[in-house]
Structures are given as structure tokens and as C-alpha cells.
């Protein structure tokens, strides 16, 4: 693990434990490799009352390189039904790919995901969900998404 990544994640973890953005809670952050945070959409939305979990996987290049972010899809949590979220939890969001910037952080990604869900108008999977899930690489970072929607 690069020292920048470790120092930066330690700092972020310290800040998150002191104060998390509304609707976001740390589920697990026992190392500087994998974190899980729960996110809940505040206010009026199609996902009222639902809690989702985001999984972050960091590599030594963080924050220069984006973390691998997916919605957890297991027996406890389900990936939200959203036009940019595949049923396996992969997220098609430009800030996790080409639009990533080192100044972004775990909290920033969580808040972006919250607003992405909050602005959702229709509960539906991406049109190519089945095909994508069948052939999806393990890490969404190995997928070249086409970001057709600038709102995320």
C-alpha cells in the first residue's frame, strides 16, 4: 500500500468517524483495502426507507486512481434498482471512471450516489443489464462504461 493511500485513507476514516454526512454510516473499515458504508436517501425519493451498502476497494494508487465502488448485493443488502446500477452492484457513473479526480473522497462518492438515487424518476435496471451481468468483469473498473447521462 502506497504511503499516500494509507495516510489519506487514515485521514478520511478519522474524519468519517468524527462526522459522517447525513444518511451515510460506516459499516466496516478494518483495513485500508476494503470499506463498506451504508447509504440511505434522505427526503422524498423512490427509495424511501431503503438502505443500501456501498463497497469501496482501494489500491495503492488511491486517491490518484479511483477506488472500485459497487453496491453490495448479498443476503443483507440489494443493489438499488436504478438505470445506472446493474443488478450485480456495478455502477455506471463517470466520477468512478473517467471523471474521477484525486480531490474526490469516500464521502464525496457516497454523497454523489445519494443524489444519483434521489434524482431517480423511474425504478428500472439499465437496458443492457442481463447481458452486462452475464459478461461483467469482477471489478467494474475493468468495464468501459459509456456515460450517456451527464446528470451523474
Amino acid at each position: 500500500m502506497g504511503s499516500i493511500a494509507t495516510r489519506r485513507l487514515a485521514k478520511e476514516l478519522r474524519e468519517l468517524s468524527l462526522e459522517c454526512p447525513t444518511g451515510i454510516k460506516i459499516l466496516s473499515a478494518n483495513d485500508f483495502h476494503t470499506w463498506r458504508l451504508s447509504i440511505e436517501v434522505m427526503g422524498d425519493s423512490l427509495y424511501q426507507g431503503q438502505v443500501f451498502a456501498l463497497q469501496f476497494i482501494f489500491d495503492a494508487q488511491y486517491p490518484i486512481a479511483s477506488p472500485e465502488v459497487t453496491f453490495v448485493s448479498d443476503e443483507h443488502y440489494k443493489a438499488p434498482i436504478h438505470p445506472h446500477v446493474y443488478s450485480n452492484g456495478h455502477i455506471c457513473a463517470s466520477i468512478l471512471g473517467t471523471e474521477w479526480s484525486p480531490i474526490l473522497s469516500v464521502a464525496a462518492v457516497c454523497v454523489t450516489m445519494q443524489s444519483m438515487l434521489a434524482s431517480c424518476k423511474k425504478l428500472e435496471r439499465p437496458p443492457d443489464n442481463d447481458r452486462y451481468v452475464r459478461h461483467a468483469p469482477k471489478s467494474p473498473k475493468n468495464t468501459r462504461f459509456v456515460y450517456d447521462d451527464d446528470t451523474v
Binding site: K11, A65, P102
Partner: protein, 446 residues
Amino acid sequence: MTSSSSSSFSLSYSYVEAVNPNLLCCICRTPFNVPATTKSCSHTFCWECICSAIAVLPQCPIDRSPLSLEDVSLASPIVRHMVSELPVYCTHRSLGCDHQCERQLLEHHLKDECLYEPLPCPERKCDQFIKRKDLKSHSHPDDHQSCTTCDLKFPDASHASGCPDAQVSCEHQPHGCRWTGRQADRPDHLERCPYEPLKEFFLMNSKRITALEAENQRLKDRLEELAFVFDRSRHDVHAMKYLLHPWFKLPANASHNPTTSSSTSSPTGTMPLNGTDFFPHSSSQPDEHDPFPEIFEGETQHTLFPPHRIPFQYPHLLPPDHTAPPTSISVAPLDLDGTLEHTFTSLRDSVVVLAKTVEHTGRRHDIALTTENVRVAEELAGVKAAVRGIRQQVHRIMMERVPGNEMGDKRMDPDMMVSGNPYLRSVLGSYPALTKSIPTTSVTKL
């Protein structure tokens, strides 16, 4: 961070007070370490942070404006002083050092004073790092061995990791460093060695070279494979050329209209491959450039491809006079200038015409045969009637000659009579079939 390196880049500071957020690098979220400012957009980051960010994506992380390393320079002295003077705890606070100082002085503290700074074995004899305060008590169980290089009977602490006088070369010698000297001087040299900062680069490069060599080998193998396939294909193409012989043409020439190629046109329409006449029409000599002379040598070539202008005329070119005697058929020469398909088509046409002619001739023969048969049958019927008349007469004569035998004579077999009569036997012997009754159906059948 228990770093013994003097490089400030890898030092992690623990700040005594909360730091002004304006002095935080937004990439690593800590106070600037070697602050660097972008010329184009005046954003400040740690030097290391912005360099690694640019290496991945050449744009400012904050405003995404294009950015290259040339656009980054050291931040203004004010910023540099502000971060340098931030109070920090000693890195070894967790080990017990209570020292606090300005950040810029921490390096000096660690290097010269901090009792908790781990130092390498002063005798270079073991790989341990010993806290400065424990150095005096550090010893090795086998401190008494003679050195072969400097003839020291009882080498002291200086021989911990080999004789300090031993001649060694720089560890970057493979990359070009010419330094050689005492082992003891090597650490000093490494600090100044121009190759030391490139260590990572060398490592990366040698990895890449290995990968490229492997790839090159794979490509070579593939190329060899393809060359083999190509050779085989070329061989096949040549064989095909020989098989097609005069009909082998470049596609452009092969597409000309088959109906216009007359049977006597000169071979101007053919364009042999390679610009040379690969299949000379006039010469029967094997081509000098022929890569497979042993396969199609002169004689074989003659039998396979006889001289091309045999007088040959297609039957359909004859006037449709079927009464003409067939012996005088002259055939048009084989058209070698058209496409193979065209040749096949005309050959097929000829076969069709021939088939028609054969059929016609056959029918004529049938008619002639039938007529002939009818005539023969009529003749036979006449002969049969005559024979019957003769037989009846003979019978009557016999009856008249043998009056006492009237009862048995009705049952007498005519055949027995004939065979019994030497005259009749000699007459009818030349017509053996006539001794039996002639089946009338065999006549009508014709």
C-alpha cells in the same frame, strides 16, 4: 512510519495543532509537503501528489484544466514557510520520544538527536535496526574473526557486514555506474549516485524489456508459422496455375464477356502473372522461372497440354444438315482466350449438340432397322406358308403310298417325318428355326 530515510517525501508528520485547511493538499488531505503550485490555475498541492496525479491524468485535479509537469513549480516562499514551520511531534512519539519541533527541523532531530530513531547496525554486521539509545549495548556473538581482506586479527564493529576496505562496485553497475571503492563508502556513494533515484525506473524498464522480449519471441514464432502457411499456399497456387494452365488469368482479364471471345482471337487478352509470360503459348519449353520444373517437365507438359491449335470444330458450328455424311466433321480449335467458364460452357454446348446428333442418328437407325425387320418378317411368312404347303403335299403323298397305315398316320409328327426324310432334312436344314413354329410376336415387336 519508522523510516530511517532522510527523504522528507516519505516522512509522515503528526501535527501538534489543527492545521489551517488552506494549507491542506486536497489530494493527500495533509498539510503540503514540498508545496507546488500550478502556473496555469494557481492551485497548490504537494509536489509528489500533483506529479503522480499528472502522470495518470494530465489535468488539474481541482478544475480539470490541462496540466503538464512543466506547469508545476515550487509554491511561493510564504506557503513553503508556513508549512515548514508547522509544529509537529517527533515521528517516534509512539516509541517514547516527546520531542516537538517545527516540521522543517524534524529531519535534523531524527538524524542526529532522537534517541528512538532506529539506526542500522554500526558495524554493518547484522540487518537489525537499533534505536540510537541502544547502540552502545549492541553487540554480536561472533565479533572475533579475522578478516581476509585487511588482515585484521580481530575485526571490530566496522566488519559487521563485510570488510570496509573491500573493493566493491556500485549496485547500479549494470546500469552504467562506474563507481568502485571501499565497501564502507558505498552508502555514501549511493546517496550521491545519479542512478539511485532511477532505481524504480530501471526495475520497471527491465520488467518491460522482459515482457517485450517474450512478446517478440511469440511474434517471431507466429511469423514463422505464417511463413510456412504462406509457402504452402504459394505452392498450392502454383499447382493451381499449372492445372488451369492457359485459363489462368488475373481477375481483371477473366471478367471479359465470354460471348465476344471468338475461337480464333489472339492471346492479347491474357496477362500472365509477374508480367512475364508464365505459360508461353508458342513455346513448349518449361519456363526458366518455373519453381516446380521437376513436377511438370517437358514431356508431361506435352501430354497434359497438347499444342493448343489442334484443328477442332464444334459440331454446332456445322450447318444443321443431318443427311450429310458424318465423316467430314471439322471441329473448331479450342478457345484458350476466354475464361475457363466460357470454355466449359462452349464445350457443354458442343456436347449437347453431339448428344442431339447421336440421338437423331440413333432414331434413324432404329427406323431403318424396323423397316428391314418388317421386310424380313414378310419374307419369312411367305417362306413359312410355302413350307406348310409342301408339307401338306408331302403328307398326302405319304398317305397315298401307305394305304394300310391310315389309323396311325393322323398322329404322325411332322418333325419325325421331316427328320425321317433325307430330302426334306437337307432343304430345311439351312433354316433350323423354321422347324419350330415362328413366334409372330417377334415380328410385330420390331
